[in-house]
Symmetry: C2
């Protein structure tokens, strides 16, 4: 009766006191008294809130209002995808398609509307990508930065965070599953093409560039991942 309630009451406490991210929460004993619950129950509620990113706990230091990032969503998405994959579903492909669908839809609104500063930054990122490809280094982080910078032009922090979360979840799962990275040279060329298309203001071409980029990733996926132990749909029921 109390547990579900405790979480709500702690959330309410945060809202009522207008606590911003990073602000300190009452200590466990204080919460016990304030909420009239035992230490254990308070801790379980805090653990749940921590899992949702609402609260941040630092051992020996205190409890604080969390960064409210989408990190927990990444966690959940990644696990869901791994679990689905290990049961023979094409969950990783679905995650990739989700990214493709959203990004193709968004990139067309960007075409010709990017501030010059962002375009320059993207140029630098692709340059770095080529440099990394040349010396055989991984370019995952740079790829992430490219996509993040690209959609920054939409001027919606939440939207950017969501896209980054999708990227993170996908990347995490792909590496966990031991997927092969794609050909660095091809990846570089495709990013360059995306950037050129956006700069030129040709929405259709930008969309096509994104689609091709994802098509490449998808191709790599199907050569390694879809080990089909029992791919039959409707395994049960």
């Amino acid at each position: 009766m109390a547990a579900r309630d405790l979480q709500e009451r702690i959330k309410k406490l945060i809202l009522d006191r207008r606590l911003a991210s990073g602000a300190p929460l009452p200590t466990e004993p204080e919460l016990m008294e304030h909420l009239g619950a035992s230490r254990n129950s308070v801790r379980e509620a805090l653990k749940a809130l921590q899992a949702m990113g609402i609260v941040e706990i630092r051992h020996g230091f205190g409890t604080y209002v969390g960064p409210m990032s989408l990190a927990p969503m990444i966690e959940g998405l990644a696990f869901r995808t791994v679990a689905g994959h290990s049961r023979g579903e094409d969950s990783l492909l679905q995650l990739l398609e989700l990214r493709e669908a959203v990004e193709t839809g968004l990139v067309s609104r960007l075409a010709g509307r990017m501030p010059e500063a962002d375009l320059v930054e993207l140029d630098a990122l692709v340059d770095r990508m080529e440099e990394q490809a040349a010396r055989g280094a991984g370019l995952a982080e740079t790829d992430r930065a490219f996509h993040a910078t690209l959609y920054r032009g939409l001027d919606n922090v939440l939207l950017c965070e969501v896209l980054e979360a999708f990227w993170d979840a996908f990347h995490r799962v792909r590496t966990d599953l031991g997927g092969e990275p794609q050909d660095p040279k091809v990846t570089c060329r495709q990013h360059r093409e995306i950037l050129d298309a956006v700069r030129s203001g040709d929405a259709m071409r930008a969309e096509e560039a994104i689609r091709e980029h994802f098509g490449n990733i998808r191709a790599r996926l199907s050569t390694t991942a879809p080990q089909a132990p029992h791919t039959r749909h409707n395994e049960r029921v």
Copy 2:
């Protein structure tokens, strides 16, 4: 040292045993033995996993593998939005823009590609919406169903769930904040227009219809929500 680990080990247990959603997990005493931890620690780990939707706990019955839905994401998004709003940010508007950006991007791929069966279903939903509007009933649920059915044509379960999650979070926050519902008649007309556009296969018109629909919601938002109690940014620091 143990706590963060316990969650991982329980997740690993689920993966190793290929447990599907709804499958029973070991009882708390069994987990205590298997993980070599106290009941308390096990419970805290389970609570965190429950918050992430990975596990489902039923009092007096047992613990089960969760539905892996995006419900926790809704929770987190909603709280984040409410918290931001109460601190004077336009977080609710950002959430709406996120939906608009994604849906406008997606609806164009649907134009002309919807199976007739889905179109008929959408017809029925708009009919119901008009009937509800006529007798003054709320049409939130029908609106939700409309959007859900619309994007079912994309044949990506994950994508649909994400969009529904966004809808839920937005709707929850808007009602929590006491926002006024929009004019039912206008809403009906706009949904009819979206449907007609998709049926006709005119991608541009479909996009425009979606945009107009969201524009309507946004207008309603700005007349009621942005009560600015202390809208000054940088209230502290």
